[in-house]
């Protein structure tokens, strides 16, 4: 299933050097429409320079996955696996807003990404 968005629309946030409240949103994020996502690399998958992102609730996992792949300049044939709770891989058409509601903690959704299957 392909997705509409070609380039990331989410607002970029700098990762704080010490664990604390995220820095001010740069864009015009409506608090209700966007959620905070923290991307964590698994194994020797490249780490994204920016890990914290403000993502629209309706954005799909596939769309986010494509964004990460482009950001990491991955090859077209390389696969990316996304995990929630370090336990399951959400369906590509799943909305991040729903994942945040059910599996978010401390105001953010943590997603692990990996070039190979990490948790089966």
């Amino acid at each position: 299933m392909s997705d509409n968005a070609e380039s990331p629309t989410e607002t970029q946030k700098d990762e704080p050097s010490t664990p604390q409240q995220p820095t001010e949103d740069l864009g015009t994020a409506d608090e209700k429409k966007k959620i905070d996502v923290l991307l964590k690399a698994v194994g020797d998958t490249p780490i994204m320079k920016t890990k914290k992102w403000s993502v629209e609730k309706g954005r799909t996992v596939q769309s986010l996955s494509q964004f990460i792949s482009r950001f990491l300049k991955m090859e077209a044939n390389e696969q990316l696996f996304i995990y929630v709770n370090q336990s399951f891989s959400p369906s590509p058409d799943q909305e991040v807003g729903v994942l945040f509601e059910c599996f978010g903690s401390d105001g953010k959704l943590v997603l692990h990404y990996c070039k190979s299957q990490a948790w089966g």
């Binding site: 392909s2 709770n85 336990s87 399951f88 959400p90 369906s91 058409d93 909305e95 509601e101 089966g120």
Partner: protein, 275 residues
């Protein structure tokens, strides 16, 4: 009165009589006859339609055949949704057999996920089970199982083996006695006319003061529109596995007995048909 275990069997063995017709614009060497099949409610389209593919391939050239996909009255059918859910959501109040159109070209990329092999179905199925257990048991039960146990769940579904499946699945239906139920209930509510695919939220089967939540309580909380007030006529049907459970049914019971093999309660909210 039916035993609770009978309900598990009734759910597992539910079938939908279906008529598969080849899309008129597909290129064939001769006329394609429709193909009739009883579809398991709890399975997935791409897992149970090998016979359909074989049937239509007999009248087609290999170069005219790409990935098979299905539509009902113009709506592409998502293979990763359980068959019974697709029927309840799209064809509940239409005449049987369910008439599905078969395509081998022009795969609708925007509407459907690709399904190149059974391992994709298995991965999707297992992920759903893991997600459900994350909600029910903080993943403790599924993580305590071995890889071969996970495989048994999948093989049970793939080969339509009720006993093989439930020998493992019963573990996923247990909970500490003192809790009274699962941590949260894995559910998805699907609406026919909505921009979002489904509603899924955190919802406890037992409230903090020990009150047993019902199906009605769930709807009131996450989709109150589905419940009509006393003074108005019923506008929506709340359907699970083709039936309308009483709104007073405890949610915990529904989760244990009417979940799909993926451990989710897939609930359709459809408008009451106007005669």
């Amino acid at each position: 009165m039916a035993d609770d275990k009978d309900v598990l069997r009734d759910v597992w063995f539910g079938r939908i009589p279906t008529c598969f017709t080849l899309y008129q614009d597909e290129i064939t060497e001769r006329e394609a006859e429709p193909f009739y099949l009883l579809l398991p409610r709890v399975s997935f389209l791409t897992l149970v339609t090998d016979k359909v593919k074989k049937h239509f391939l007999k009248v087609m050239k290999a170069e005219d055949v790409e990935e098979m996909w299905f539509d009902f009255e113009g709506t592409p059918l998502k293979w990763h949704y359980p068959i019974g859910l697709l029927f309840d959501l799209h064809a509940s109040n239409t005449a049987l057999p369910w008439s599905i159109t078969v395509h081998f070209k022009n795969f609708p990329e925007r509407d459907l996920l690709h399904c190149p092999s059974n391992s994709v179905i298995e991965a999707h199925f297992m992920s759903s089970i893991k997600e459900a257990d994350a909600l029910k048991h903080k993943s403790q039960v599924i993580n305590d199982m071995q890889k071969k146990d996970h495989k048994q769940l999948w093989m049970g579904l793939q080969n339509d083996k009720f006993d093989q499946f439930w020998a493992m699945n019963r573990k996923l239906m247990e909970y500490p006695t003192e809790e009274g139920g699962f941590r949260y209930i894995p559910f998805r509510i699907y609406l026919t006319m909505s921009d979002r695919p489904f509603i899924q939220k955190l919802f406890r089967p037992i409230s903090s003061d020990g009150y047993t939540h019902t199906l009605g309580d769930l709807l009131k909380e996450v989709y109150p529109v589905a419940i009509s007030r006393d003074d108005e006529s019923k506008r929506y049907q709340v359907v699970i596995h083709g039936i309308e459970p009483l709104l007073e049914t405890p949610l915990q019971w529904l989760s244990e007995h009417l979940s799909h093999p993926d451990n989710f309660l897939h609930i359709s909210v459809i408008p009451v048909p106007s005669d």
